[in-house]
């Protein structure tokens, strides 16, 4: 058997691209890493493997603690982690969702080709940058009251529909139709809501971005066609989350759990793994608050969609309907959801924590809307600003291997400090412009910190997903215009 040593952790190769850390110490299940040897080498450079081992000690964990090929060190849980716990006899952990609740991506299609946009890239970048608040403290696309925020927390994208920022079809092409019915705004603190008031329709900063892309390669023609994708098509990818309201909600509940469930926490190897036992009041409260923040994030991405449509209308002097700017899909990659999965032949309700991982339900899954049930759901995997992104479809292997999940992006390999030392923002912008990629950012530092060389090779990440059958390659896109905070 092939093994891979990383410090005092020994991984066994189960099959191509599947590595396992056997149970030891407090681990209740083994841990599995989906990676090529090259990606595993990168993953093992920080505390990812140690953090993954730690998650295997969470009460009620099922089958394996899983790390996706884009995994890297997080806080408590590794980014790229999938942890499924028994919803009735386990626990739920805010750290397994992350501070940015429902950080995720959506893709807007158009009927434009690259030829239609070429020559207008800088103008488009400027219009988008003016219409969409990026960075910190720039407000939101709309001004909202505390009451508005409460409605958004409750209604999700339906709030945008009622207020003229969405079409009925937008709901059809958003995970859960853009609304978690388990949401309870009363479980979100006033302080969190106050943070959300200035941020409805805002991109934020860090690794969040908006990118206009062109479809450069189709891998599965039939699936691409059913998704409405074609060669050279212009599409828009939006990557952001629930902003301050999600960050505050995660923090609030980490602290509440720390105090109220100190006994459980004392048995866990990392404070960031703080978990509320299934059936406890705090587990119910956190789930309701998290679902409310999920609704906020979907609405946030919807508001940005509205602004993108207005920007394209301005540039092309056509309505967004004429430009056929419809959603491909909106998927979360920081989330925990109650889902039913088969465990040892029995259907069990689980809390599936996806922290930097994307739901990837395959053909026939009843949770999918009709259009996608026949082909599998779209999965959007953003790369870095100078590299490819991918559209996958949920693979049939995902339900058995990864609780219906796949990767979520490229995954960092360099720290922000190192990135700033290695990459100069102006040089990066100039190099990208030579490749016909136009980048605008609020801060030069963001361009350096998010430079293409800072991330793993997204193509290799996607290759692992495709080879394992957890997310199948459908199309590859390439950046044209990128705006960042």
């Amino acid at each position: 058997m092939t093994t891979f040593e990383s410090g005092n952790i020994c991984l066994h190769k189960i099959e191509e691209f599947i590595w396992e850390i056997p149970r030891s110490g407090d681990m209740l299940v083994p841990a599995r890493i989906f990676a090529s040897e090259n990606l595993l080498e990168q993953i093992s450079q920080d505390k990812t493997l140690e953090q993954l081992k730690n998650t295997a000690s969470l009460p009620g964990i099922q089958k394996y603690a899983i790390c996706m090929p884009d995994g890297h060190q997080g806080y408590g849980f590794p980014v790229g982690g999938v942890v499924a716990t028994d919803a009735n006899n386990g626990c739920i952990s805010p750290g397994g969702v992350g501070y940015d609740i429902n950080c995720g991506v959506r893709m807007i299609k158009t009927n434009l080709t690259y030829h239609d946009l070429h020559g207008k890239e800088e103008s488009l970048g400027e219009i988008l940058f003016n219409k969409i608040p990026t960075g910190l403290g720039k407000g939101g696309i709309v001004k909202t009251t505390l009451n508005d925020v409460e409605e958004i927390l409750s209604l999700g994208v339906e709030w945008a529909l009622h207020n003229g920022y969405a079409s009925p079809e937008d709901l059809d092409f958003c995970e859960d139709r853009g609304r978690r019915n388990d949401a309870d705004p009363t479980k979100v603190s006033r302080r969190a809501k106050q943070r959300g008031m200035n941020q409805v329709g805002s991109l934020g900063s860090g690794n969040h971005f908006l990118e206009v892309q062109r479809v450069v390669e189709i891998f599965r023609e039939e699936v691409a066609s059913s998704y409405g994708l074609f060669q050279d098509q212009i599409v828009i990818l939006i990557h952001t989350g629930s902003r301050g309201i999600g960050h505050q909600t995660c923090t609030d509940y980490l602290r509440k759990i720390e105090v109220e469930h100190a006994d459980l926490l004392s048995q866990l190897p990392d404070k960031e793994l703080a978990s509320a036992p299934s059936g406890s009041q705090l587990a119910a409260d956190y789930y309701a608050a998290m679902c409310a923040c999920i609704n906020f994030a979907w609405t946030n991405r919807q508001m940005i969609t509205y602004a993108v449509r207005m920007a394209f209308e301005e540039l092309f002097d056509k309505s967004w309907q004429d430009l056929e700017m419809n959603l491909l899909y909106d998927v979360a990659h920081n989330i925990a959801k109650k889902e039913f999965h088969i465990i040892n032949g029995h259907k069990r309700e689980l809390f599936v924590h996806r922290k930097g991982a994307t739901r990837a339900f395959p053909i026939g899954n009843k949770a999918l809307p009709g259009a996608f049930r026949k082909v599998g759901q779209p999965v959007i995997i953003p790369g870095s600003m100078g590299s490819d992104s991918y559209i996958l479809r949920g693979g049939v292997g995902s339900m058995n291997l990864s609780f219906g999940s796949t990767a979520h992006g490229a995954g960092r390999i360099l720290s922000r400090t190192k990135a700033k030392k290695l990459f100069n923002a102006s040089d990066i912008q100039a190099e990208l412009k030579e490749q016909n990629i136009y980048v605008t950012a609020t801060l030069d530092a963001t361009i350096s910190e998010e430079a293409p060389g800072v991330y793993k090779d997204v193509s290799e990440v996607v290759h692992v997903s495709d080879s394992l059958g957890i997310g199948d390659k459908v199309a590859r896109t390439y950046p044209v215009v990128n705006i960042k905070g």
Partner: protein, 136 residues
Amino acid sequence: MEFHLRDHTADIAVESCASTIEEAFVGIAEGLSKAHSPNSTHGTKKFGIEISSESLEALLFDFLDMLISERDIHNVLPIDHEVSINQEKDIWTLVGTYYGIPLETIESREIKAVTYSDMKIEKNQNGWKLYVVFDV
């Protein structure tokens, strides 16, 4: 008191060394301000905060969480911090002030949240050494 921004794969860490716990807390807070906006200097409006927590570690977490939420609620970058810290039985209390720089007047990155990840509060013969990782 001195503070430094430290490397972390995806995030930013701040280390602070000082002779008193109050100065060490202020060092982390100033590091948080620098992580937001390296060149910002002085705020214009003074704000007050008061926090009580069950341990010193929790107090540090709650203090930094408070500063991050104050930033979004008042739309200012907190800077020029002063704090006093007291302990009575199992309750630690921090009373402090900061000045706010209006965010619309500066270019600033967003720090999402404070984390407990690798958090350290150490007392040695020279004083206090604190280490905090922030989610970016």
